[in-house]
Symmetry: C2
Subunit: 365 residues, 2 copies
């Protein structure tokens, strides 16, 4: 089964196509395209006979210092104003392709094929590029959507259980943020680390359609779209506080549990809200437990450092911590809490309780 | 006297203000701005007490390899999403500022103050950035207009006669391309290398208002705006063919003379057209003669190399040379001439005749 829909943006509309085995079609449709590909897939793509530029997916690769190398390779491959670029890979490849395509000869058309579940279900649309400069992470970037986003769900076969679960957290988060009906549809796909192709297609489709609403109603991250940061303020602090020993997706999953625990302890939820949040929490807990033994090396979490990272998050106001939490009947809101010792204790307690809840107490040191 | 008008672009409108002594006003209006300044003006600007980042105006400075250095300096000066950037300088500074402002934290607002006459009368509006990568000139770039273009005509006091004349050629070209009335208004300013402030303001104003028409009617260089390449195909070949021993503005001036001569020899002009073109030619000739003795070192022109550069211009079709020439009653058109020995001889003859006309025969070797 194959489906498609359109995303409207100020830079023009672009379409999203979701299905299994679409790579062959793209190669057939763009025989003269230049393929910018995660080195992991280079051999497979080269066999199709198309021109391929490989990029290693690393933090260094998505740096402004590294972009000239990619530009030069495009030029050496003979790319001109009319060349179509097809990017195949995860977030790093998407960042590099967005940036390179936008500036090469002042902009060339491109197509993006995400290869991670996180890319398929979330970042492939509305995606701005984030590029590192020297030691500064994501200091520069821009917005230059592809002409087409082609989600070939077969790429999911290359993913580990941890990568699948990480992607599911972002997918579930978007659906939850969109509304209870959307989240229930998501749960009805029975999302686990061992989904079949049809389940993956359904999860990806539901999450992207939910995200489409957010990015069309608030393209520039001013209002509704901020709710998609659910799990991220707590998650980013966790990720950074343990030197990225926990992957982004997993950290977001735990971040949602921390937010839920904080909301509950702060008595922000009605009885109905608590029940709805429970649905999210037990799903996230199940996913986390299903991959716990697989994390290599096991994460080691220094809560003092996590706390420090949370403190330094630039999104807070000087007098208020800001974070997205479920409130009232379970709907999300960007709340602002007093920046004092009391709140800090509540936050730390929420981290401890959430980690205990998934059996990770032994990972805290 | 001070005047202002608005430019409409797909990236939003921006305004242009022209007057003498506007720098002081900008410093007062943006005390917290970060000033990105040609090193030539750094000391003068620093005296105002604002934060200044100096950039040396060189081909190397406008390279993708050099951009990270500028970004890092913006970051070290504490620039954030809300920081206003004020760029002061010529073409290189405009290129660097356009690019850096567009990507820094995904885009910060900026103001541009051109310091060359070419910048004031032409490139400060509709300006895309052009950035070098490795050995490839202008391989990348983008479009990110400033919020305000502030033309302080007092910067013209820092310019040499050659720089003034170079700017006048671009200004005259734009006015000629716009129409005979506009070109006559331009001539009525009595533009020479020794203009007073009021003359400069009038020339800049007339040229920018004429250019405004072109960039609003054809923002993306598809039709009318291509006529602004008048003098450029012949001029670029001349510039490159003598290793940039002739400045861009002067080369464009000579390029217009070559185009006029080609059109006349090819019998493309009516009697009325020939008279109109004569008005342009005698003005350009006068300007060139007024600076001839000042060019240091005197240019040395290898016509075989110029011819080779003309041949390799990517704007030609495989079977046709393409160039903007005055035709019929003197109006400009992008013409396509057979790519054969006959045309090549005509072109070379036109170069020789135009150079003889300005007394530069002795510069040919």
């Amino acid at each position: 089964m194959r489906e498609s829909f359109e995303i409207r943006s100020s830079a023009g509309s672009y379409d999203v196509i979701i299905g299994a085995g679409l790579l062959g079609q793209v190669v057939k449709d763009y025989p003269n395209a230049l393929f910018l590909v995660d080195t992991f897939f280079v051999d497979a793509i080269k066999r199709s006979g198309v021109r391929v530029v490989g990029v290693t997916a690393s933090e260094q690769a998505k740096s402004l210092e590294h972009v000239p190398e990619v530009i030069i390779r495009l030029r050496e491959c003979g790319a001109n104003r009319g060349t179509h670029l097809v990017a195949i890979g995860g977030g790093v490849i998407q960042d590099v392709a967005t940036f390179a395509a936008s500036v090469y000869m002042r902009g060339i058309p491109w197509t993006y094929m995400p290869t991670t579940l996180l890319g398929m279900a979330d970042s492939c649309i509305g995606g701005k590029s984030s590029i590192n400069v020297a030691g500064y992470k994501n200091l520069v970037g821009n917005f230059y959507p592809p002409k087409h986003v082609v989600v070939d769900t077969e790429f999911a076969n290359s993913l580990s259980a941890e990568q699948i679960v990480g992607g599911l957290f972002e997918a579930g988060k978007i659906c939850y943020a969109r509304g209870f009906a959307e989240f229930n549809e998501y749960l009805a796909c029975e999302p686990t680390a061992q989904m079949n192709a049809e389940q993956i297609r359904k999860v990806v489709s539901g999450a992207l359609r939910a995200k489409k609403w957010f990015i069309e109603v608030d393209e520039f991250d001013q209002n509704e779209r901020l709710l998609l940061n659910f799990g991220h303020t707590f998650g980013h602090a966790l990720e950074a506080g343990c030197d990225f020993g926990v992957s982004h997706g997993i950290a977001v999953g735990i971040g949602m549990l921390v937010a839920a625990r904080f909301a509950s302890e702060r008595a922000l939820l009605s009885a109905a809200g608590a029940r709805r949040v429970d649905g999210l929490v037990s799903h996230a807990r199940g996913l986390l437990r299903s991959v716990d033994g697989m994390l290599e090396p096991p994460p080691t979490i220094d809560l003092a450092r996590v706390s420090e990272k949370f403190e330094n998050d630039k999104k807070h106001y000087s007098e208020r911590y800001r974070m997205v939490c479920p409130i009232r009947d379970g709907e999300l809101e960007l709340i602002a809490e007093p920046r004092n010792a009391d709140t800090r204790k509540r936050i730390l307690d929420a981290y401890r309780a959430a980690l205990a809840d998934i059996g990770w107490s032994s990972h805290i040191f």
